[in-house]
C-alpha cells in the first residue's frame, strides 16, 4: 500500500518541463541566462547586477586580506565600486548618445547587456578570489599583489567588454547606415571611457594595489 501511495504521488505530480529545466540549471547558468521572455525584466536585471557586484566584492575582500581588519570591507566595496560606477554613470551617458544617434537600442536592452556583463565579470572575479587570497597573504613583495590584483581586474574587465559588445552587436546590425556609422565611433569611445573610469575608481579605492604596502 505504501508503494502504491508513493507511485500514485509520483504519477500525480510529474515535474513540468520548466521545473525539470530549473533543477538541471547550475548556479552560473541561472545567473547568466537571459530572461524567459525576450524582453528584459527590470527586477531580473537588478538582481543579476547585484549578484555580479557581490561576487566582485569577494575578490576585493580577498585583496583586503593582505592588510586585514576594516581593509577587507574597504577593498570589497572598492572592487564593486569600479563596476558600479560604469553601470551607474557610464551606461546612462551612453544611452543618451545612443538616443541621439537614433540607435534601435532601448533602455531595457542596454540594462540587460550591462547586468550580464557585470555578472560575467563578477563570476570570473569571484572564482579567482581564493587564488588571489592565497597570493596576497603568502607573498612578501607588493609588486606581486599589484600584478595579481590588476591582472584579475583586467581579465574581468575584458570579459565584461566582450559580453557587452556581443549583446549590442545584433542591435547595431539592425540600425540604419547613418546610425551604424555613428555607433562605430560611439561604442569604442564608450568602452574606452568605461575602462578608464573603472581603472580610476579601482586605483583610488583599492590602496593595496597601488603598492602602499
Amino acid at each position: 500500500m505504501n508503494v502504491d501511495t508513493v507511485r500514485l504521488t509520483r504519477e500525480e505530480d510529474p515535474p513540468g518541463p520548466d521545473e525539470a529545466e530549473e533543477r538541471c540549471q547550475s548556479l552560473a547558468e541561472r545567473l547568466l541566462a537571459l530572461s524567459r521572455s525576450d524582453a528584459a525584466r527590470w527586477d531580473e536585471e537588478v538582481a543579476r547586477l547585484g549578484v555580479g557586484l557581490g561576487l566582485t566584492a569577494l575578490f576585493g575582500a580577498a585583496l583586503g586580506l593582505r592588510v586585514g581588519g576594516a581593509a577587507i570591507l574597504v577593498h570589497a566595496a572598492g572592487a564593486s565600486l569600479g563596476l558600479l560606477a560604469v553601470a551607474a554613470v557610464a551606461v546612462p551617458a551612453f544611452s543618451i548618445v545612443l538616443a541621439l544617434a537614433n540607435a534601435p537600442i532601448d533602455m531595457p536592452t542596454l540594462a540587460r547587456a550591462t547586468s550580464r556583463a557585470v555578472a560575467k565579470a563578477g563570476l570570473a572575479l569571484g572564482g579567482l578570489a581564493p587564488a588571489a587570497a592565497m597570493y596576497v597573504v603568502t607573498v612578501e613583495d607588493a609588486i606581486t599583489v599589484s600584478i595579481v590584483g590588476f591582472g584579475g581586474l583586467a581579465l574581468a574587465g575584458g570579459i565584461a567588454i566582450s559580453s557587452f559588445s556581443k549583446e549590442l552587436r545584433a542591435a547595431h546590425a539592425a540600425a540604419e547606415a547613418r546610425t551604424q556609422i555613428a555607433l562605430t565611433f560611439a561604442t569604442p569611445a564608450f568602452l574606452i571611457f568605461a575602462t578608464t573610469l573603472a581603472v580610476r575608481v579601482w586605483w583610488l579605492a583599492l590602496p593595496v594595489l597601488t603598492g602602499a604596502r
Partner: protein
C-alpha cells in the same frame, strides 16, 4: 581505490571526462581520484625527499599531497567561473570531479616517475639533477592532466580561451602553493632538515621578475 576506474583515467580520459561533465557516478569517480592523488603525490614526495633523507622524506611526503589537493581546491572556483563565463555553465559537482580526475591523472604520472627519481637519487644524483628530474616528472604529469581537461572542456566556442586561462591560473596557484611549502629536496649545504624554509625570498612571481631583470642586466646581479 577502484582500479578499473584508474585504468579508465589513464586509457580513456575522454570517457571519464564525459562522465564527470554529465554528472554520472561522480561520487565514486571523485573518491577513487582522491585516493590516487594522495597516494601518487605522497610517494613521489617521499622519493624527492630521499635526496636529503631522514625527516625530509616524511616532510616532503606530507607536503606534496597538501600542495596538490590545496591547488585543486583553490582552482575549483576559478575553473567553475571561467568555464561558465565562456559558455560552459556546469554544475559544481561536475567541475570538482573533473578537477579531481585531472589531478588523479597527474598524480598517477608522478607515481610512475617515483621509482625513476628514487633510483637517480640513490645513484648519487646532484641537487640540480634531482631538481630537474622532479620538474620533468611534474611537467609530464601536467601534460597528462591537461589532455584530460581538453577532453573535459569539449568542443564549442571559447574552448581555447577557457583552457588557456585555466592553465595560467593553475600554474600560478600551483607554483605559489609549492613555493610556500618549500623545501622538498632539502637545502644544499645545510645540515639541518626544516619543515619550511625561514628565508624571506618574496614570492615566486617576484623571484621570476628578479631573475628576468638579472638576465637582462647582469651588472645589477653582480652588485647584489
Amino acid at each position: 581505490m577502484n582500479l578499473h576506474l584508474v585504468n579508465r583515467i589513464l586509457r580513456t580520459p575522454a570517457d571519464v571526462a564525459r562522465d564527470c561533465r554529465d554528472d554520472r557516478d561522480v561520487t565514486s569517480i571523485a573518491r577513487s581520484a582522491l585516493v590516487a592523488i594522495l597516494l601518487g603525490s605522497l610517494l613521489f614526495g617521499a622519493a624527492v625527499g630521499s635526496w636529503r633523507g631522514g625527516a625530509q622524506i616524511l616532510f616532503s611526503g606530507g607536503k606534496l599531497p597538501a600542495v596538490t589537493i590545496g591547488t585543486l581546491a583553490i582552482c575549483v572556483p576559478a575553473f567553475y567561473a571561467i568555464a561558465a563565463v565562456f559558455g560552459r555553465p556546469w554544475s559544481v559537482r561536475s567541475v570538482v570531479s573533473l578537477m579531481l580526475v585531472a589531478g588523479a591523472r597527474f598524480a598517477l604520472v608522478l607515481l610512475a616517475a617515483t621509482p625513476v627519481v628514487w633510483l637517480a637519487i640513490d645513484l648519487g644524483a646532484s641537487y640540480d639533477l634531482a631538481k630537474l628530474a622532479a620538474a620533468l616528472a611534474y611537467a609530464l604529469g601536467g601534460l597528462a592532466a591537461l589532455t584530460l581537461l581538453l577532453h573535459g572542456v569539449g568542443d564549442g566556442p571559447g574552448r581555447r580561451t577557457t583552457i588557456a586561462l585555466f592553465v595560467v591560473v593553475f600554474l600560478l596557484v600551483g607554483a605559489q602553493a609549492a613555493w610556500v611549502l618549500r623545501p622538498y629536496l632539502g637545502t644544499p649545504g645545510a645540515d639541518d632538515v626544516a619543515l619550511f624554509t625561514r628565508e624571506r625570498e618574496g614570492g615566486l612571481v617576484y623571484q621570476l621578475w628578479k631573475s628576468a631583470g638579472d638576465a637582462v642586466r647582469p651588472s645589477r646581479a653582480e652588485t647584489r
